[in-house]
Symmetry: C2
Subunit: 209 residues, 2 copies
């Protein structure tokens, strides 16, 4: 039985793009349903009751109707789609090392680089709260540290968990390749730039909208 | 061949405890090497060059001497230890759903609940910077939202990813069961309290130091 996949998403979100990129690289059909997070469309009673009680997108819907199951968290959704594929190494250490970079992405990368991009590009610096302004410098420093670590790692390897693309690259690509929209200059990170070009050259690659 | 495992840790860290708890539940021998993060012992040139260029603990060392490999990120280390064990469900959806809670832990739980505990218990409220004070209310609100989501989920299930313990429970247990040290009252979350008791009753359970 082939399962039907539906992505509940905001097309502007890099976390949603991760899942579409995974499906594209694997040639999997993926339906989409769009929500505008700026208008609170993922906080409605219907969304909270049926799709995700956490009120966030992306959510991967597996199956349809009353048998549908819902999987929040972008990296978990990518894991589900890539089950048994070349995007997840089977070697015990390589698989754990891939997950290491995916947890790094959620803890050390996304809250700094994606958040600054969201604030500067979508909210607008003039509209930030005092509390948000107070966090900008710490997020700038932590985001640069994340990019520096990635750049040093990529000096010795073509992709994050070895010489072939894995979900680690798919998790880290979206917000890294648009980091300049968050005020991070990528010119200081030549190995990241070379890796971005390698990801963009993958068969089946699709760009972020 | 049996691999030797060494945990590079600060015994006060809940992220390190996750890995010790995984090893204990599985009956795996685990050597430890302690560092004091408050004294910068994970920022020395030796640590950065050999153990983790990110300057953080925990790191799971696999093997010894020149063949040793190093795995940062607590949840990835737990994944490596639990490879092929009952702590990782083999069902495709259950496995992805377990990872969903582990990514939730790193993104929505740890930065709020563990950070407030660290600030209030180890740094001391009087010693916080103005920037840290400015973040306390947002972390309080987000931490309560995480606990509320967990409590509602646990109303219908014994453990996070079904009726048996998995790595999702091990990832969420450490900072949840000491959340009161971060100023979170657990009395409002009866299903969390019942789950804490279930985890503490598991064969092989070890307490956090």
């Amino acid at each position: 039985m082939v399962e039907a996949f539906t992505l509940h998403e905001d097309p502007r979100s890099g976390n949603c793009y991760k899942i579409r990129l995974t499906a594209a690289l694997l040639g999997l059909p993926l339906a989409t349903r769009a929500y505008d997070i700026m208008r609170g469309e993922t906080r409605t009673p219907e969304f909270l009751a049926r799709v995700n009680p956490n009120g966030r997108i992306p959510v991967l819907q597996i199956g349809e109707g009353s048998a549908a199951r819902f999987l929040p968290e972008s990296n978990a959704a990518c894991w589900y789609l890539a089950h048994g594929s070349v995007l997840i190494p089977q070697d015990r250490f390589a698989q754990a090392d891939m997950l290491r970079w995916m947890f790094f992405e959620q803890y050390s990368h996304e809250p700094n680089i994606a958040t600054l991009r969201f604030w500067l590009r979508f909210v607008g610096e003039a509209n930030l709260s005092a509390e948000q302004r107070g966090q900008m410098m710490a997020k700038r420093v932590a985001g640069c540290a994340a990019l520096d670590l990635m750049n040093r790692h990529l000096a010795a390897t073509a992709f994050f968990s070895g010489e072939a693309v894995t979900l680690a690259d798919i998790a880290l690509f979206p917000y890294t390749h648009v980091a300049e929209e968050g005020g991070f200059g990528l010119g200081d990170y030549p190995h990241i730039l070379a890796w971005i070009a390698r990801v963009q050259a993958l068969p089946g690659f699709i760009p972020m909208p």
